[in-house]
Amino acid sequence: MSEALLTVDGLQAWYGRAHILDGIALTVGRGEVVALMGRNGAGKTTTLKAIMGLVERRAATLRFDGRDLSALPAHRIARLGVGYVPEDRRIFADLTVEENLEVGRQPPRPGAPAWTPEKLFTLFPNLAEMRGRRGTRMSGGEQQMLTLARTLMGNPSLLLLDEPSEGLAPLIVKQMADAVRRLKAEGLSVLLSEQSLSFASAVADRACVIETGRLRWTGSMAELMADDGVRAAYLAV
């Protein structure tokens, strides 16, 4: 088996003096969708942020596409082809839809699908109708679509997707799952954090379950769905 696209080993992270992550290890293969599962506060968001270089203090072995990420700032990591979609959307509210996409634009890179605004508008038809609209005047679902589209403008080969279904109406959640499957079909690899088992099972190949900053279980999505014990121990609310 060739080297995984993303390899994370012994990931530690701190906020101030609080030790948040303790030895997370996971891999994402090329073209694979991996779900990072766990309850609120388990450390899912911090894991994604730490990979992206957005946590002030971290330590890990982080390899992406043969490159060492552990000492790089966020913008260098992004330029290597890691796309980050935050959970709280964080669109630039004063900028129009097209301007938001412009901020995300990076040159195309080999081995990753290349995106243009037009191509993204076919993936997210809603956005096409509001190109000139400012972020302040968009619904939550539209904002979530825009955040994803904005990151895709960077032509990433790996997508870090933080809680894509959180706080969205069921219809939008379904659109979101469709979009993730389309992206996988285009050849993108995805690491997504998720609390919703149904969303994860609809899109993911494998799952990693974490709790209180430690990795508790890892296996295929099908195995997780079959394992009532793991689900009850780490996911049931």
Partner: protein, 610 residues
């Protein structure tokens, strides 16, 4: 009628310069969230550099405008260098450090400019081709000013295009809203910020170079313009370009007509206007609520705690100091008297900053008001010293009562700007109201009563009064009043929700600090025998901040140590050189970068490690 029109036009010309400078300030603030005190320095050096270039090449229109552009670009490069060397390290610091660090640059630049161009005012040549004036309704109006009037909207338009029609501008606007997200999208924020500083400082330099044909180039133009630009930016809404344009127009007219109506208090009008705007529209004319600067949390790593033997140590120190006249000579006693006075001044500011988290940039107002209060009582009412001394804290306290009502409505940078504005109001009254205050001649002959005229006697009096006031301030810090103040500092919302009226406590603290500073000012007046407007000026406020910072914000003893070290440094080291601004500026920058916890904080950290 025609006279009024010309007056309005000259107001527009003033507004154009004001807009060029403040647009740079507001752009830099919008992106970096740093209020760049040194912005006026780029204006000043831009004027000096423009003067030199215009003297050499300005004989032809192409040479003149080329010189102006070159001066602006050179200031842009210097601004970028400042971003790389200093600002970059301050983005995550509390605003006090940002303001002080950039003020350090102001001092350094002042001395370097004096060294390069000499202390004399320089008169530049007029712009070739625009030397004459045209008649507007039979009144002559300079052609050059007409060009300036056109330049304002032109620059606004170009900036609008830059920010709305280019990729660079889009990225800057994105980074203004969410720096972290922008970098997660692959944009290098550091390079973006360097570019923004280039742009902002080039605009300041442009404004400066364009002034060369209009007025003398002087070493005082930096602080004068930056304070005006602060007002414009705050009135317009921090970070808003159109707001800055609108505010420039209003303030330009206010100055043009204010000088006709109240020639004595033109400076006051501008600051009063700002205070009124901020009370009516807290975020400025076109500012928005979400653009409140996210003030970096004051990093309170070590909570304030009463030292175990603090009382014993304080008494021992007091005893040693009281014994000083037995061994010290006159000069040493004068120095010690001043140290004790400044210690009270610094401690009163520390009450606001350390306990209240309120960074006042105009604390000299209350010190100076106390000093002037005493001096005026002596001069106009022939009051004896005890009465004049009693009047000092009363007058300062009343002033702080009024100003505090405005200031505590806002926090963070706006608070700093408001306090600065009030200090400038008081300063301009002292500076411009010749009949009462003597203007920049000050008031002389403020001597102590006969019984306190001896150096030792006055020293003991000072020690007793300041010691008492310091003891009261310390009591306040560890009383429920102090706890409420600190609760408001650490989390205003939580403090409100447990029933603390944060704003009222802050107001009380403001008055208390003003009163204490006023007492220090009164004592200072009698110690020196005279008062001058410099006691109320920005550098005096900065001195106090440096003392607090030197001593360390997180300790009660800090301001005392800071005042002692600072005053000795000032009178013993800096008086040996003509370049004291350079020395002081470098000290401030070093403090901000290397010793952010101050002397006492550094020592106790050292002790803890050992």
């Amino acid at each position: 009628m025609s006279f009024l029109l010309v007056q309005a036009l000259s107001g527009l010309a003033t507004a154009a310069t004001l807009f060029l400078v403040s647009s740079g300030l507001t752009i830099v603030f919008g992106v970096t969230r740093i209020v760049n005190f040194a912005h006026g320095s780029f204006y000043m050096v831009g004027a000096y550099a423009g003067w030199s270039l215009i003297e050499r090449f300005g004989g032809t229109p192409a040479g003149f405008w080329g010189s102006v552009a070159a001066a602006a670009l050179a200031m842009g490069v210097l601004g970028a260098a400042m971003e790389i060397g200093l600002l970059r390290r301050l983005y995550r610091s509390p605003e006090l450090f940002q303001l002080l660090g950039t003020f350090g640059v102001v001092l350094v630049v002042q001395d370097l400019t004096a060294w390069a161009w000499g202390p004399e005012d320089l008169l530049g040549r007029r712009a070739p081709g625009l030397k004459g004036s045209i008649d507007i309704l039979d009144q002559p109006f300079p052609l050059y000013d007409l060009v300036l009037i056109g330049l304002g909207p032109l620059v606004l338009g170009l900036l609008w295009l830059l920010f709305n029609r280019t990729r660079w501008g889009t990225l800057v606007r994105a980074a203004t809203q969410d720096r972290e997200m922008t970098s997660a999208l692959g944009v290098d924020p550091t390079r973006l910020f360097t570019g923004v500083l280039f742009l902002g400082c080039a605009l300041a330099g442009l404004g400066g170079a364009l002034q060369v044909p209009r007025e003398a180039v002087t070493l005082q133009m930096d602080v004068a313009i930056v304070v005006e630009a602060f007002v414009v930016v705050v009135v317009g809404g921090m970070g808003s370009l159109t707001g800055a344009f609108l505010a420039s127009l209003l303030i330009g007219q206010l100055q043009a007509f204010g000088i006709l109506v109240f020639p004595q208090i033109t400076l006051v009008i501008v600051f009063l206007f700002m205070a009124v705007v901020l009370v009516l529209r807290p975020h400025g004319l076109l500012g928005r609520a979400e653009e409140v600067p996210p003030t970096a949390p004051a990093t309170v790593t070590v909570p304030l705690s009463a030292g175990r033997h603090a009382g014993v140590w304080a008494l021992a120190l007091l005893a040693v100091m009281a014994a000083a006249p037995l061994v010290a000579g006159d000069y040493a006693l004068i120095l010690l008297t001043e140290v004790v006075i400044l210690a009270l001044f610094a401690a009163s500011l520390h009450l606001l900053i350390g306990l209240g988290g309120l960074v006042s940039f105009g604390h000299a107002a209350w010190f100076g008001m106390g000093a002037y209060g005493s001096a005026l009582l002596v001069k106009h009412l022939d009051a004896p010293m005890p009465l004049a001394l009693a009047g000092a804290p009363v007058l300062a306290g009343l002033g702080a009562l009024v100003a505090g009502w405005f200031c505590v409505r806002r926090s963070g940078l706006y608070f700093a700007m408001l306090t600065l504005a009030f200090a400038q109001i008081v300063w301009s009254i002292a500076f411009q109201w010749y009949a009462v205050t003597g203007g920049d001649n000050g008031i002389l002959g403020v001597w102590p009563s006969a019984w306190a005229a001896g150096k030792a006697a006055y020293y003991w009096l000072t020690l007793a009064l300041c010691g008492g006031a310091l003891w009261l301030l310390r009591r306040a810090a560890f009383a429920p009043f102090g706890y409420a103040l600190r609760a408001g500092r650490d989390s205003g919302l939580r403090a409100e929700s447990v029933g603390i009226d944060v704003r009222r406590f802050q107001w009380m603290a403001f008055v208390l600090a003003g009163t204490a500073a006023g007492l220090a000012g009164g004592l200072y007046a009698f110690a020196k025998g005279s008062v001058f407007p410099t006691l109320l000026a920005v550098p005096q406020s900065v001195d106090a901040l440096v003392m607090v910072l030197m001593g360390g914000i997180q300790t009660i003893a800090g301001p005392l140590a800071g005042a002692a070290v600072f005053h000795l440094l000032e009178s013993e080291v800096m008086s040996m050189t003509d370049w004291w601004r350079l020395v002081l500026g470098l000290i401030i920058i070093a403090l901000v970068l290397v010793f952010p916890k101050g002397i006492v904080g550094f020592l106790s950290g050292f002790r803890r490690r050992a």
